[in-house]
């Protein structure tokens, strides 16, 4: 057989990947910024996050449109097809992740006049892990490394543990002193958003595993402690 060039399809695939990576790094930095805004009481950082969320929304539409166009015009099959399907799913996940970061930013803006309930320790830790997961999920995506993706999924347990710990702690604040309720609830919302970010990062990993191996897995059953929040 003679090697054939597929200039258009290869270019389309490269563009799709670029956009996913761009969305990924934006989500990472938005999450980091939102938690820093909370910790350092910096409303302008929170406002930046809110503006960036709009860019991520647009990128998601771009990815979806490009994916549909490529399927319609290039008739991709096998791993090409899987990559496109995975990328469009990842774009949706990333868009939702940006929403969660944006959710944290909103809380910061809303509560900027109140002092923090307590020095933050576990929330920045959650953020650190979630950002690391997102980063490595995208590494796995670029390197087409299913094992790395699976390893990242496992880290979500730690995020869930931290969330439960924060929940317990905040509940004890609220039950001891009802005047802390509104500030404690704000922190709880923040933690909840971070917990969701961790879930979505594991979804990214699922899509990477699919793109690389063709294996679709049932999402890990989630035992979310407070399902109605968020």
């Amino acid at each position: 057989m003679i090697p054939a060039k597929r200039p258009i399809l290869d270019q389309d695939l490269a563009l799709l990947q670029d956009n996913i990576l761009r969305m990924g790094s934006m989500v990472e930095s938005m999450t980091e910024k939102a938690v820093r805004a909370l910790k350092e009481r910096k409303v302008e950082l929170a406002r930046e996050v809110r503006a960036e969320e709009k860019v991520v929304d647009q990128l998601r539409l771009d990815v979806e449109e490009a994916g549909i166009r490529t399927i319609a015009t290039q008739q991709p099959l096998a791993s090409d097809l899987r990559k496109i399907i995975a990328a469009t799913h990842m774009a949706v996940e990333l868009e939702r992740m940006a929403d969660y970061a944006n959710g944290i930013a909103k809380i910061v803006i809303r509560s900027i006049d109140e002092p923090l309930l307590k020095p933050l320790i576990d929330i920045p830790r959650m953020q650190f892990i979630v950002c690391g997961m997102t980063h490595r999920a995208l590494d796995a995506y670029v390197k087409e490394d299913a094992n790395l993706a699976r390893a990242v999924q496992a880290e979500d347990d730690e995020v869930d543990e931290l969330y439960k710990q924060i929940l317990r702690e905040l509940v004890s604040y609220m039950s001891e002193d009802a005047r802390t309720i509104s500030r404690a609830m704000n922190l709880l919302f923040v933690a909840h958003n971070l917990e969701r970010l961790g879930d979505r990062a594991t979804n990214l990993c699922e899509r990477v595993v699919y793109a690389v191996t063709g294996q679709l897995h049932e999402p890990k059953p989630k035992k979310s402690s407070i399902a109605t929040l968020g």
Binding site: M1, I2, A4, L9, L77, A78, D80, R82
Partner: protein, 253 residues
């Protein structure tokens, strides 16, 4: 049908090497692979069409209902009645539409009563989804039809003798997209009664229209071999063999 270690030669040249392939009943099996890898040769072996080539020879077995169609006592014409063939270019006879369909039936049964033959012709044309388009002009020449209609006429001709298996060698390569879709739809109805094998260069067609797919490739000695056989969905979403992946995604051609 079942090919067991089938090798097909033209003189000393081995065009197909050692194919073992189960053809599932009442399913559509597509054969894909680069040009010259032996797809047509393999397909033709399933109804002894290669017998018409002087130098051609088959080793191994091809079984129809458990019997080797290449056994010495088997009549090739009888095999072809049970395993029909539709070719790449529609090839109706320059005769009335009616006679095109009746042709094989008359050969097998020269004294068939007219009403019975009428019924078979109608049934076959209906089976090929052509009846409504030609019922008022059965006396007109088959060659006066459009390409897609001609191909459906050839399918009607093939099913008129009530075969068990239909072989199609690139049946749509000379047709426009609409006529192609019509043939593919027709294949879906035909598979309720017939086992179908189709050779196609059109990956989308194989993906759309078949249940199983055979991927063939040429070895360095130019003999064609089967490198992968699986459910069509598997071949086009997650093939096992890197060469299949490269072929279906257009990295080689």
């Amino acid at each position: 049908m079942l090919a067991e270690n089938a090798s097909i030669f033209y003189g000393a040249f081995r065009a197909v090497a050692d194919v073992t392939l189960p053809v599932h009943e009442r399913q559509i099996t597509a054969i894909i692979g680069p040009s010259g890898c032996g797809k047509s040769t393999l397909l033709r072996a399933f109804n002894r069409m290669n017998d018409l080539v002087q130098s051609a020879r088959v080793e191994g077995k091809i079984l129809l209902d458990g019997d080797n169609i290449y056994a010495p006592d088997v009549d090739a014409v009888a095999v072809r009645r049970r395993v029909g063939m539709v070719f790449q270019r529609p090839n109706p006879f320059p005769k009335p539409i009616y006679d095109n369909v009746a042709y094989g039936v008359r050969l097998g049964n020269p004294r068939i009563p007219k009403p019975e033959l009428d019924a078979i012709v109608e049934q076959s044309l209906r089976g090929a989804a052509l009846w409504d388009e030609v019922k008022d002009k059965l006396k007109e020449s088959g060659t006066a039809l459009s390409g897609g209609q001609q191909q459906r006429l050839c399918i009607a001709r093939a099913i008129a003798v009530q075969p068990d298996v239909l072989l199609m060698d690139e049946p749509c390569s000379a047709l426009d997209p609409i006529a192609t879709i019509k043939i593919e739809e027709l294949m879906q109805t035909l598979k309720e009664r017939y086992t179908i094998m189709i050779v196609t260069h059109n990956m989308q067609q194989a993906a759309r229209a078949s249940d199983y797919t055979v991927m063939m490739m040429m070895r360095p000695d130019r003999a064609g071999e089967m490198i992968e056989f699986d459910q069509t969905e598997q071949i086009f979403t997650n093939p096992r063999d890197k060469r299949t992946e490269d072929y279906v995604s257009g990295r080689f051609g």
